[in-house]
Every structure is written in structure tokens, then in C-alpha cells.
């Protein structure tokens, strides 16, 4: 049995593991709370909800597979959503304002992240954490401290089929970029060994900035989905946007873990689905938020431990 599994191609192995995880996470909650969890129509709803974060996670993958990190995800989403919402409503630009405004803002935030990271030569984690405070403040200033609401006439991306269409478009873009452009190959090359990549004539700094821009644009798209689904956005400050970082990051870890099987994007999509099954499972259970967070935290650690193999003695930071 195990021998057979080992003989499978990398991608098939990855799919088997992921499908098993989806089934397992469903099964656990189905057993615990059989009545109000996990019917086919429930699962479709969970999947739709997961699409929102999947879009961000897929963008983030371009940054993470180069070995960099981004703490400004939440701040980016808030700022992009507020800009998009204001363009759509106050400037009467409708859907064009919402979509283009959010995505352009996201990309601009990405450019800022990338620019300062490359120029200042300090770890991306610190640069983006510092900038997140600034993005939050800008968003708060633009919103005037007031909750920004998207009118119901502009919420087509909050439900089927709008959300699915937007998500699929972003997946296709990501897939094409990863597999059919130099940029895709170079992100892996830089993530695998920056020194070797440099020796191959790759302009490492340029591609790092590009990765941040692309990732930012995806967060912009995620912002569209987020505000359309939730109908409004509050411009929080004082790093409170950080709580929005967690779920896209978790999906991205799935992508990294399954990179070696050659199916990172597929793994992110299924990974976010798993994360959402767990979340909705807790909600069905009626578990208090604190307990949910504790268990989700452990679930993350367990999944990452099981899916990433660290060589003995390798230093992990």
C-alpha cells in the first residue's frame, strides 16, 4: 500500500493527501455535530467563503515562495477596500471604480512594500509590519473614522456567480504567471537559491518588487470580495488589521508545503477550503472564540509539521 503510494507521481500524491485532509476535517465535525454541519449545500457555502481568502493567499504565494513575508496583508485589504468603495460610491464610478480602484491600490501598496524592502535591505517582515501601521492610518484618515458601506446595488461580487468568476479569473492569471512566464520560474529560482539565481543573470531585486506588486494586486482583488461579501469595512488602527493576515497566510503555507509536488495553487485552494471547514465546524459547535483560536492555532502547527519535512539538524528560524 505504502509502496504503491510512493510510486505515484508527485502531483497525485499531493492530491491524495489534500483530499484526505478535506475529508478528515469534514468527518471530524460531521461526527461532532451531525445536524447543522457539512451538508452538500453547506459545503458549497464554505467553499464560496474560502474563495475570498484563497485569492489573497494565491497572490501572497508569489512573495512567500521567494522566502519573504508580508505583515501588511490586512492593512492592504482595508485600504484597498476603502479606496475602491469610495471611488464606487462618492465618485460614482460604480463597479469599475470598485474593482480597478481596489486592485490598483493593492498593487501600489505592494510596490511600496517591495520598494522599501529592496532599498532599505531590512527583513521583509519588519518593513511590512512598519508600513502596515502607515497603511492603516491612511485608510482611517480616508474613511474619516466612519464605517464604509458598499450599497447593495454594487455587491455582485459578494455572491454567486460574481465571486466565483472573479476568483477563477485570478486563479487563471496566477497559474499562467507561474507556469508560462519567466517571472514564475524566477520566483522559484530566487526562493531556492538567491545566489545561484543572481549568477544566472536574474535581476533579483526587480523580481522581488514585482512579486510584491503582483501579490498586492491580488490582495486588492481579495478586498473587492471581502467588502462585497461583508458589505462594509471599518478602518481599524493600531495593528488591529493583523487579524486579517492569518487565514491567507495559512492557505499560503499549504501552497509552500505542496510546492515540491508541483501543485501549489491547487493546494492553496483546497487548503483554504480545509481551513474554512474547520472554522465553520467550530461555529456549528458553538465553541467560544477563544477555544476556536486555540484549536485553530494547533491545527495550523500540526498541518505544517505534517506537510513540511525538515532535514535533521537544519536550522529553522
Amino acid at each position: 500500500m505504502i509502496d504503491r503510494f510512493n510510486q505515484l507521481s508527485g502531483a497525485n500524491k499531493g492530491y491524495i493527501v489534500l483530499t484526505a485532509l478535506v475529508f478528515l476535517s469534514w468527518l471530524i465535525f460531521k461526527i461532532l455535530t451531525p445536524d447543522n454541519f457539512g451538508s452538500p449545500s453547506n459545503l458549497v457555502a464554505y467553499f464560496q467563503a474560502s474563495l475570498i481568502t484563497t485569492v489573497g493567499a494565491i497572490g501572497f504565494y508569489f512573495v512567500m515562495d521567494m522566502g519573504m513575508f508580508d505583515f501588511s496583508i490586512g492593512a492592504n485589504i482595508i485600504l484597498s477596500a476603502i479606496v475602491g468603495c469610495q471611488l464606487a460610491t462618492n465618485f460614482d464610478l460604480g463597479y469599475a471604480g470598485l474593482i480597478l480602484g481596489s486592485i490598483a491600490t493593492g498593487a501600489l501598496v505592494g510596490l511600496c512594500n517591495g520598494f522599501f524592502y529592496v532599498k532599505l535591505r531590512i527583513p521583509s517582515m519588519i518593513v511590512t509590519a512598519g508600513l502596515a501601521l502607515i497603511y492603516e492610518s491612511i485608510a482611517n484618515y480616508m474613511a474619516g473614522g466612519v464605517e464604509q458601506t458598499l450599497p447593495s446595488s454594487l455587491r455582485a461580487f459578494g455572491q454567486m456567480p460574481g465571486n466565483i468568476i472573479l476568483a477563477i479569473v485570478t486563479f487563471i492569471i496566477a497559474y499562467v504567471v507561474l507556469n508560462y512566464t519567466k517571472f514564475g520560474t524566477y520566483t522559484y529560482a530566487i526562493g531556492s537559491d538567491e545566489f545561484v539565481a543572481k549568477n544566472m543573470g536574474i535581476n533579483v531585486d526587480k523580481f522581488k518588487v514585482l512579486a510584491f506588486i503582483l501579490s498586492g494586486a491580488f490582495f486588492g482583488a481579495m478586498a473587492v470580495l471581502t467588502i462585497s461579501y461583508g458589505s462594509s469595512m471599518v478602518a481599524v488602527t493600531g495593528m488591529a488589521s493583523m487579524s486579517r493576515n492569518f487565514i491567507p497566510t495559512m492557505g499560503c503555507f499549504f501552497g509552500l508545503a505542496f510546492m515540491k509536488y508541483g501543485i501549489p495553487l491547487q493546494a492553496i485552494i483546497l487548503g483554504e477550503f480545509i481551513v474554512n471547514i474547520i472554522f465553520f465546524g467550530f461555529i456549528s459547535l458553538g465553541a467560544p472564540t477563544a477555544i476556536q483560536d486555540v484549536i485553530t492555532g494547533f491545527a495550523l502547527l500540526i498541518i505544517i509539521t505534517l506537510t513540511t519535512k525538515v532535514t535533521k539538524g537544519e536550522i529553522v528560524k
Binding site: 508560462y180 536574474i202 508541483g262
Partner: protein
Amino acid sequence: MSEDIRLQVSHISKTFGITKALKDVSFNINKGEVHALIGENGSGKSTLTNMLTGIYPMESGTFTLDGVQIHPKNQVDANNLGVSIIVQELGTLSGLTVAENIFLGHEDRFMKFGFRNTHAMNAEADRLLQRYGFNNIKASNMVDDYNFEDRKLVEIVKATYFNPKIVVIDETTTALSQEGREVLYKQMEAIRAAGNTVIFISHDLPEVIAKSQTITILRDGVYIDTIKSADVTEDQLKKLMVGREVTGDYYRSDYGEKISEEVVLSVRHVTVPGIIEDVSFDLHKGEILGFGGLSESGMHEVGKAIFGASYDREGEVKLQDGTAINDIPTAIKHSVAYTSKDRDNESVVINQSIRDNVALPSLDRLTYGSSRFLSWPRIKEFAQKFAHEMSVKMVNTDQFVSELSGGNKQKVVLARWIGRGSDIVVLDSPTRGIDIKVKQDIYQLMNRMRQEGKSIIMISEELMELIGMCDRIIIMKDGKISGEAPRSRELDENSLISMMV
């Protein structure tokens, strides 16, 4: 200029910090030959070829390829000029497919309107793999799906498919099995037959003589000679590489001294899964015990196993007083010291001062009285004392270790353990990449330590220094002990090599 000259190397120099890696090196390499480049570790072979292939920037001097001066900016640039390299370590990148690895930096031929025709690229890579006869490798698979040897084969394709004028093969054969070597030799022959040139770096002298037409010898960054392979013997090559007759004050000069009966360390049935198997031996007081073998023979792991640094070790390492050593703190506490082969990563703390590096394992003794508070005056004095005793070339002990040459870093490591007063010292490749002068210092220091009754285990890939320094030499092969030779004037490398391979 003769018609046959492919590459003129003229007046090439290169410095790393205060280390002069290459000093005014000039020689010619011809078309249609396998030109071997040999020399001891640190002689500058890889530095020279890394500059030729754009991995290191050039400093002074010129490379003239077919009459035109070249200054490759990076590897891809070098490829475009007709020069490629197969490196010593793993040269393929994880996370990329086989085809992406082969064409990394050369994707433009598959690009149209900014999009890459991945299908055409995979098909082309598959065609190349077929042509080389590597039918088991598929272009669209992740390179991670393949083992080290297959990944080396991918590198061979990557470095040679475009018929470069010069292919550098940098100590690749040591990593390959016999089968893999044969594949590589076949490629080398094909390149040569097509009128192109192979620059072949290898430590395996019989291989060098058998597979090359011409040999250039470097020593300590200086050009020594270029000779025809047909006219030279292994012994002559060795002499050219080492450069001088070995004299009394270089290695030890004593012979026939009796080794003490007192056993200070006994190793019994030590196994580290997949690396060493059932290794047993005794170390005596005042003895220098050598370990030799091929780089992958497991001898480097023996040092780690004794120091308690191996993973999943089985068997027993015991000191004279019966203390079992199973972890590093116990080893250090009981006066065992270890210096790793990988000096920069495993021995010195690069971004710290000499003072901190020397004092690190002795901090518990450098406190105010019996308190737990560190006494900086004592630490400073301690570091100064032992750094000076080791004659570390430095401004002062505040200087960062990263600024020191390889030899001086090694002296800092030795100062650390001498300062700690260790009685059992395990030295893994202590003179790796170090120039002759510092080597001599280290040999003399080892001799003094021995006379003071300290016991030393010396692990080395250089057989000459084992023969010159050790009371006994244990040879390892495939993770097991394959033979042992006592110190004698008659002992030569050939008798050791016969136990190694």
C-alpha cells in the same frame, strides 16, 4: 598566437579580504583537449574557474577566448560567450521543473508576447534528455523528484547542450557513482572530439592522468607548471602540488615513539544510520590518531559522533573515567573539543568578535569570583592571551572574525579550545583551505599539544598530512573501518589509497 589556443589566461589575480586567492596566474588552454587543473585545497582552482564562468567578478588580468577578451558578468553571460560550468555541489534549483532548470536564464527562445511556451520548452528538454540517453528523466517533472545523481545528469545537459567552447567540470566526479562517472567521461570525450575544451578539476590523480591530455598545477594561488599528461607520474604531480620536500619542521620529525598504554577515549560499535557503521577504536594519551578516506567515507561523521553531535547515534563513546558522551554539553564539560570541517558555518560565529569567539565555551569560568556575572576584563584578558598564543593575525580581539582569512579563523577556533584546556581534541580537516605557512603553525601546535599529553583525533582528506602527523591512521570506506596503519617512515599514500577504494 597559435591556431590551437582556445583560452589565454593572463595575469589573473584575485583577493578575498586579506587572502590572496590567485597571484598573477597566466597559462594557455588549447582546443580539443581535456585540460586538468589540479592543486591542493585552497590553491585557487575553483576561484579561477568561477571567475571564468562569471560566478565571481574579475579583479585584474584577462581571459582571452578565441582571440577576444571576455568579462562574463554572470553564468548566463558566460554561457552566451561559450563557457559553462558543472559545479561541485548541487547546481540545480529545487522547486523548478527539469526543463526550467535546463533553460534557466535562456527562456527567451521560448517566449512570445511575454508568455513562455512551456510545452515547447518541455518538448525541447525531453528531446535533449533523449539525445543524451537519460531516458528516465522527464522534463516536466519537478527536479526534486530525482536523486542527487540524476540531478547531476540534468546539470550535464544544462551545461553542454548548446555546444559551448569550454565546459568547466569542477570536482563533479567525487559525487558520482562509477556509472555516473562513465556518463560524464563519455560527455567529456564527446566535447573534446567536437574540437571543444573541457577544464577538468579533480583531486583524483589517477583519474586526472587517465582522462586529460594536459595538466596545469596551481599552488597557493600561484601558477606552477603546465605539462602533458602522458609524460607525468602521480608522484611527480604530488610533488608539484605540495611544492616542497617535506621536512622535519613542517610535519613531525619523530618516529618510533611509543604510544602510551593509557586509553583516554574508547569508542565501541558506534553506528549513525546511513553514515557510519559499527566503528570501534581507542584513543591513547598523547596520541595523534588520524582518520582518512574519501570525503563520503563517513570519517567526518566519526568526529561528530565522538562529540555527541550526531543524530540517532548508537553504540558507546566513553572517557577514561567511565563518563559516557551522548551530547555536546557533556563532551565540552569533560574536556572534549571539536572543530568542524565546515569552519564558517559550524565552528566560528562569523559576525562576532575574536574575543567572543575565543571565550564562548569558557564563559562559565570568566565570571566575577564565584558569581554568575560575566567579568569583561577577565574575558578580554583571556581572549588576548590565547589569540596571541596562537599568533592570530589581527588588529585586536575586537575585530570581527568575518574579516579574517581561513587560516586565522582556524587559529581562533584552536585558541578557543586551548583556552578551554581541552584534553581530547577532535580536528576535522584542520588545514582545509589554509596556506602553507599557517598549516605549518597548526602542525607545530598539534605536536606541542601531543607532547603536553593531550590526545588528538585528526580527520583529513589530505593523506600527506595524516602520514606526516599521526601515530596511527585509521582508513574508512563506505562507513566502516577498512584498515589501519601505524606511523612509519616507509608509509606512503598508495598503501593508504588501496584501503580507501
